[in-house]
Subunit: 512 residues, 3 copies
């Protein structure tokens, strides 16, 4: 079904291309020096020949990428800690060319339902983690096990969360004075919950689109829920995840992924205020003040040399070494691998789940939740104390790069206390909620759609997250205090109490 063109003649196209079409790209401090030695495959040359006019931005992005600057065969000769390719060996045809358009967009065509004939070349629209795993199998494997990769399923296949999603994003109509909710549209889901979680991208068939005056109409796959760069995207090749959520097309920059703005796209207040807290923390202040002196591209990433305060990636993802080359933390693309507790998104904070697929969890009441309504953990599906300690130990080693033991121990003891106290504040809210349900003041059949229920949701989905992140990063005390923190947590309980009283009063006196 698909036709592959791989040129055997090594054309020094790149050199010519750079100097004729993109002279400016080279002028910037010799960045592309040495570029003349990079060979492009014939199909990639063909891609660029058109696309430098049709979509010059992505060609420029790619030119700025490591993929355009070193061939895999050379990259694999690097010392172990410096290597960015985790595969032990690559197909010859991929090793000797720059990793160009065709190298990525032509992989695994049989699996790709979005494979199609584009100007004589069989290519895929979507490059998936499975495609990237050709050179980066360790990263792809780790990622596939993460909650991120499973984020679509974890949300949409869990009946409780799915109900929450529908209740929030469905259009509400007024019928006979009553609010009636309709199911949310796919397009609204795509830009709300699934904007971060990822969509399910399927191929409906082919369609014609207008590709600009030079080309007129062309035929391309007709994809559902596209575009999407959500972390748990379900791809037309059956794989899950999107590397481009953090490494944006087509520069695939490690610098961008290591800077906190990338994480900030999704980890935002009020539900996940990681970025909000970080940027107002001491670490964040040092980052913002000094980042221009740091090297965000270095592999391995040397603490005290390449950076002097952590970003998100430092603690959660990157390979960190000391100035004398000792490994402080191994690289992981399972973003939960250095975490022992879940701080956000659920009724109670609890131990990390064993599997990144959390839709399999059942609590003691048989519901797809990691804790019972009263907080008891679904232990079987969560990591045990030993594993929690092991992971906490990994994190502490990173802290130890700059902090003493007493400092670190007191810090994490404080976080433990914060989890305990915020869980207690959730329990109090849950007790009030139960009172409202038992008295018939609100209706548990949908626990997410009435006024007191919405206050209850805020008590576990918004406010504790602020406090826990402020605790976890010891910073931005306003987020623990006034800004969606303890102020709201306390005020909200009072509001719940008062709303129950008012509604109860009206119920009673209505019936008089």
């Amino acid at each position: 079904m698909n036709m592959r063109l791989r040129s055997e003649g090594y054309v020094l196209f790149f050199l010519v291309f750079l100097f004729i079409c993109y002279p400016a790209a080279v002028s910037a401090s010799g960045k592309f020096a040495g570029a003349e030695e990079i060979r492009l495959s014939a199909p990639t040359q063909a891609c660029i020949a058109c696309h430098k006019a049709v979509s010059p931005g992505i060609v420029s992005d790619w030119l700025s990428s490591r993929h355009a600057k070193i061939i895999p065969a050379e990259a694999m000769k690097k010392p172990a800690l410096e290597r960015r390719i985790s595969s032990d060996r690559l197909p010859d045809e991929l090793s000797v060319y720059a990793v160009g358009c065709y190298e990525c967009h032509s992989l695994n065509p049989v699996r790709h339902k979005d494979n199609f004939n584009h100007m004589g070349y069989m290519i895929n629209v979507v490059v998936s983690p499975n495609d990237c795993s050709t050179c980066h199998p360790t990263e792809a494997d780790q990622y596939a096990r993460s909650k991120k990769a499973n984020a679509y399923k974890n949300l949409m296949k869990n009946p409780i969360y799915h109900n929450l999603v529908k209740t929030i994003t469905g259009i509400k109509k007024v019928e006979n004075g009553k609010l009636v909710s309709q199911p949310p549209s796919e397009m609204t889901l795509r830009e709300t919950c699934l904007g971060c979680h990822g969509t399910k991208v399927e191929v409906r068939g082919l369609k014609k689109v207008y590709a600009g005056s030079a080309w007129g109409e062309i035929t391309v796959p007709d994809l559902t829920n596209w575009p999407s760069q959500g972390v748990g995207r379900e791809n037309p090749d059956g794989s899950i995840g999107a590397c481009t959520a953090c490494h944006p097309r087509h520069g695939f920059s490690i610098e961008v992924a290591r800077k906190p703005y990338t994480c900030a796209q999704c980890h935002l207040d009020p539900d996940v205020p990681a970025w909000n807290v970080y940027k107002e923390s001491k670490h964040g202040a040092i980052y913002a003040s000094k980042k221009d002196d740091w090297d965000f591209g270095a592999v391995p990433w040397v603490l005290g040399k390449d950076f002097n305060a952590p970003t998100c990636a430092t603690c959660h993802v990157s390979l960190i070494v000391s100035p004398d080359g000792e490994v402080i933390a191994e690289r992981t693309h399972d973003f939960g691998a250095r975490l022992w507790v879940r701080l956000f998104g659920l009724i109670y904070s609890h131990a990390q789940p064993v599997s990144g697929d959390t839709s399999i969890i059942r609590n003691k009441d048989g519901l797809s939740m990691p804790t019972a309504f009263t907080g008891e953990p679904a232990t079987k599906y969560l990591i045990d104390g030993a594993e929690q300690d092991r992971r906490k130990g990994v994190m502490k080693e990173i802290c130890r790069g700059c902090h003493g033991t007493s400092w670190i121990d007191n810090h994490f003891e404080k976080l433990d206390n914060t989890i305990k106290e915020t869980n207690e504040m959730t329990l109090s809210a849950t007790q009030l909620m139960v009172e409202a349900w038992e008295k018939g003041i609100e209706d548990i059949s949908n626990p997410f759609d009435e006024e007191i229920e919405k206050l209850w949701i805020k008590q576990w989905l918004f406010y504790p997250s602020s406090i826990r992140y402020a605790s976890a990063m010891t910073g931005a005390p306003d987020y623990a205090s006034f800004k969606n923190g303890w102020w709201e947590l306390s005020d909200n309980l009072r509001k719940m109490r008062n709303r129950i009283d008012i509604k109860e009063h009206i119920m009673k006196h209505q019936s008089e």
Copy 2:
């Protein structure tokens, strides 16, 4: 009435000035190399002679400006796409000197009610868009047609909006237990609504002010509502607008105007969360991570060479060309010229108005609103479908620099859907509002001052804006979801329903 001094002797004052008074200004990487050839007019020399001591900051700002680095006669020799002066010819007296203090502050003295004798020179306090149009007529003309230039009138001459302004910013007193609103003060208006919209600056007369120990008291115009840099400022020469809203005095930097912080001064949540959404979007993350490698001063602005992700200016204002010099989008200073719908500030999203002066609009009920209460557009005053398509086409060409057709089409189809759905959510709120008014629960005589009315306002002024911007930029999904997005849009309807029920109950039982 006014005395002009224009030196015929070309004094190389600038060189001497720079090297003697501001040695440091030159040391920074030869930025001012060539400065020695710039001639200053005699009046400007006189200005600087004092002001480098009296207000050194603005002299330094000006030294950093293009105005200080090239004389108009030279600037006009640039190739068409590189030219920043849109006038075809300039008065000789302005062409051969740097564009200094006196060149701008002495223009059109007859029109300027703020013209006054300052140390022997007749100058204006306020430099207006009409003055700037001497060299930049195209930009001034475009701007004058924009909603921005008309922002003062659009707000204050529209009785409905004016009522909203008064209701929000007037001091409230408690009289006999009731809240009574007073008219807002001019000073509070200046720093709230008119901080962005601009004030009406008029000349009351002259006054004496203390100008520091070296000068003692001097006489200056006594201006109302001053200072103000709001976009729709009404100037003492009768013109409207303030170029300095985006090009801050006295550097008038294109770099500053192109960076999103400038737009962020006004386009903030909760009512206009453009900046909030942008900075947490994929485009914003790339901007924040890579901006130091980009060139924000280049004219024309080359996509893929000078920048790799858009800022506000890229899509809405700047002259964008491809790396091979083809124009992708013409420059416009009518900020709505590439827009087909209005996303914020009004009860329903609707087609852009034909005129930047929206105070002329009348809906079918004769009110100064672009839609009826139920959403029907005041078609006569709004651009038609063909013009909407044309403008959308201009925007799509910019997207096409980096994205394929299918991507772009799906994106804008999604935005259309978002507008439709958020408008429906507003309609539901309006229906509840009407119920409250009809039942006498709240009083429509001022539709903006009671509790349920304020919930209704949030339903169209705050929450849909979050969602629409998140849609328009496909990013920051939290703004579409939890952060003033669908969460609030749904919760708020429920709150409106409950407040109506409570107030109705009290009304009934009070009278028992």
Copy 3:
């Protein structure tokens, strides 16, 4: 009790260290050129010998510091305006070495209850402002007089504020359907209010901690409420304050302190939105756009040369001079020294207190508040009109660097008006609150824990701060308008009115 080791043999350890252990640290553009001339004391050499492996991050931080680059004896030879050491003379033993680990951590051992034997050296865990005063006595003296240094006491020793703290941060339990508040835990206080205000750090005794595989268990002081970098920290040597709140360990960077991110750690919305307003102001937009061209390390800080728009430090702290060397503002580390009014944190805005210790203030009703309930100032404890004018004059001189007199005068007249109007809006809320208390709708015994009381608190603690900061910086008009500004101030009064009416109704009809 303590043993001091001071080497007489000047070992060129630093050079060796740098080139062998930290080769990369030197490669960055010769930053450490000349480093070979810096002598390290023998104890500091010993510290570094281990800590470059144990905690390489802090060694790297210190290497980046001025402390590592110039010995005090040389630093004291600088011209007066350039000197960063305010002491007239130093002990010889401190003058001739780099200010290294031991130089700071060994000072004043008798005062330091946290002094302990660490690997043979008697050191203190906490370096306090009193220790820093060895070289920086003027800064330490100024700071000690500030509200910042007294921030722990001002909050925790004032019964009214202490009650507010407890009410917000205490865990709430549901007992028989009622909310019951428990006292807050020390750990929660540490990361909420005391995160900014500072904690009381005391020595409980000694404890053993695990210091990593190389060292095993070591004995260290067991400190309460540690770590803490809050501005009013009470230290184990009896001193108050933490220089590291703004000059982070161990780089002690003036650049970091001058950039606004440092202030942003605490001066955040909703209660103190200084940073939020600044970054969306004109000054903030210029800062964000142009800061990379500025010099944040220069002493003195030259307006128009080192920077072209102010950061927090410019107006409130730094020594500012004009390009021709005239002093515009003297340096002060009493952060209130250039302020004449308090804009935040109290029921009404009022004149600055005379003493940084505000716990001594008594209003006419004998309460520890700077105003009476109705706004009358506790005059005796507040600066008078003459002192207010003097301080405003200092601030105006800074404005005058870039702005004319009329501009400046109008600006501050506007701020005065804003203070007056926002105080009036607070008074209206207070009148409603009094009604609620007098009618028994809520209980004044704790004025901070019920629903209407919490609305009242927002009316003085959150919303006026937004407006006043937007006024004080003439920027971010959304903060004065919609974003915790006039919108909320007006809406909140209406909410208070309605909650009183609802609760009153229920009270009446409940008893029927």
